[in-house]
Amino acid sequence: MAINFEQVNFSYGAGTTLAQPILHDINVTIPDGQVTAIIGQTGSGKSTFIQHLNGLLKPTTGRVVIDDFVLTSDLKEKNLTSLRARVGMVFQFPENQLFANTVLEDVMYAPINFGYAKADAEFAAKTALKQVNVSEELWDKSPFELSGGQMRRVAMAGTLASNPDIIVLDEPAAGLDPKGQKELLAIVRGLKEAGKLVVFISHQMDHVIAVADHVIVMHDGGVVAEGTPVEIFNKDLVWFKTVALDLPKAGQFAEQLRQKGHILRHRPLLLTELATMLNEEKRHE
């Protein structure tokens, strides 16, 4: 159930004089059963890229193959329903889209729209709420009475309730406090363990290290690198400057140490790894 981008180009206003090319020549595979992070500076095309995963946008040329579904420019809107049921999308700050009177009704909205009977929708909604750790005493409350982190998770449950195989998240942990961020990353890991293919956009390199198996790097509307987080974050510093990305904090710290003449054996990616390296150095003196 992998996802393949084959020669994908995308322009806004394609075929008009105002055509604005956004994505160029994208050939990339998003592996099944893994968590893939899409990284790149603001304006690099990440959001446009993920909107091709459930047909919110269609490639201007080329095709996106999602399992056995082929997305091309000439596909009719009515033929996208089966794709939308399979690919769940959680936008940035999804709590802004909450609207119903109670948490449970809000989460039931999507499955009902996908044609579930009311009882089935309720069961699906409850399953999804448990999946994102929203405790039962909140289910009959107004979603607007919840904390930021809780609202975020309720909004995610709305997408998970129709049980999509593929889950796409745009900056899922943005704006949350440290505890809320940790909870969210744990949920992402849980989705993978439940057999989902997860794709997420992040500007937080420490989150990428924490949950991603695979990383796709975008720059100026193209994919400029892909690999494991360890492969990507061990690239040359000059390369990071050209794609305008940061290292994880531990790597940044090690770089600053290097500039002061303190050179470590290799680049640490986690705080604990950096601490261990510094502690071992002391032992060997």
């Binding site: 500076q41 930021g148 500007h203 305008a244 140490l257 502690n279 002391k282």
Partner: protein
């Protein structure tokens, strides 16, 4: 010492649940205070109480010795500038310059004085060359700097930033924080800054860090004092700044609080 903000015995309930009871906080004029706490800890509610957007059940709030009441609320607000979390929710003008002008028009500034005031404010935040741009073409960090310029143009004595960097990418966040440091340098004691945040690396830049949870002051002190309380921070859903967490994990630790720059310096001389 002149108090910019003095909160006495504040009581406020939300949804029949007591959020603040018997809450006290004094902020000295010219201080940079980081108000930190997890989502839902009450820190944004506190900002709204200070601005008179919410009304306390009991207690007093004084802003530069002026008691906040129904009669004084407009005058009190004129001393405070506020920047909110979402950069897209605070634009009214068709261009960046129009947006800064909006606030000036509201306080009846002579139109002949406006261009100068707009230019000054935009220059301080490094957005002068964008003055004819439409706000929606700006990045998040640029939008927040324009929001800051709109506030600065009104020459408030206090600026409160309510999670103003939470929705920004790392680059946008860095430019806003740099701008705040520059402001503090330029205005010194003339400007009181309150930054509400849950990003501890941001909080290290302040003179004083106040940790609140469930409407209670949990910790209050210099960054050095507050960030020596790792356990208390964890219990309140917060973390140490990166450098302090790293120092905690070292076998041989520095014997005093160090910020990131100091720790790097210390580690690099240690090995020579």
């Amino acid at each position: 010492m002149v108090k910019a903000i003095k909160i006495d015995n504040l009581k406020y309930s939300y949804d029949e649940r007591s959020l603040f009871s018997d809450f006290n906080l004094d902020i000295d004029a010219g201080q940079w205070v980081a108000l930190v706490g997890h989502n839902g800890s009450g820190k944004s509610t506190l900002a709204k109480l200070i601005l008179g957007l919410l009304v306390a059940e009991q207690g007093d709030i004084d802003v530069f010795d002026e008691r906040l009441t129904v009669e004084t609320v407009h005058h009190v607000r004129s001393k405070i500038g506020m920047v909110f979390q979402n950069p897209d929710n605070q634009f009214v003008g068709a261009t960046v310059a129009d947006d800064v002008a909006f606030g000036l028009e509201n306080i009846q500034v002579e139109s002949s004085e406006m261009p100068q005031k707009i230019d000054n404010a935009l220059t301080i935040v490094g957005m002068q060359e964008f003055k004819n741009r439409e706000p929606h073409t700006l990045s998040g960090g640029q939008k927040q700097r324009v929001a800051l310029a709109s506030v600065l143009a009104l020459q408030p004595k206090i600026i409160i930033l309510d999670e103003a960097t939470a929705m920004l990418d790392p680059d946008g966040r860095a430019t806003v924080m740099e701008t705040l440091q520059k402001l503090k340098k330029q205005f010194g004691k003339e400007l009181t800054l309150v930054t509400i945040t849950h990003d501890m690396d941001e909080a290290t830049l302040a003179d004083r860090v106040v940790v609140i949870n469930d409407g209670q002051k949990i910790l209050d002190g210099t960054p050095a004092e507050v960030f020596s309380q790792r356990k208390a921070l964890h219990e309140n859903g917060l973390e140490l700044p990166f450098a302090n967490e790293l120092a905690f994990h070292l076998n041989e630790k520095p014997n005093k609080y160090m910020d990131e720059r100091e720790l790097i310096q210390w580690l690099s001389t240690l090995n020579k």
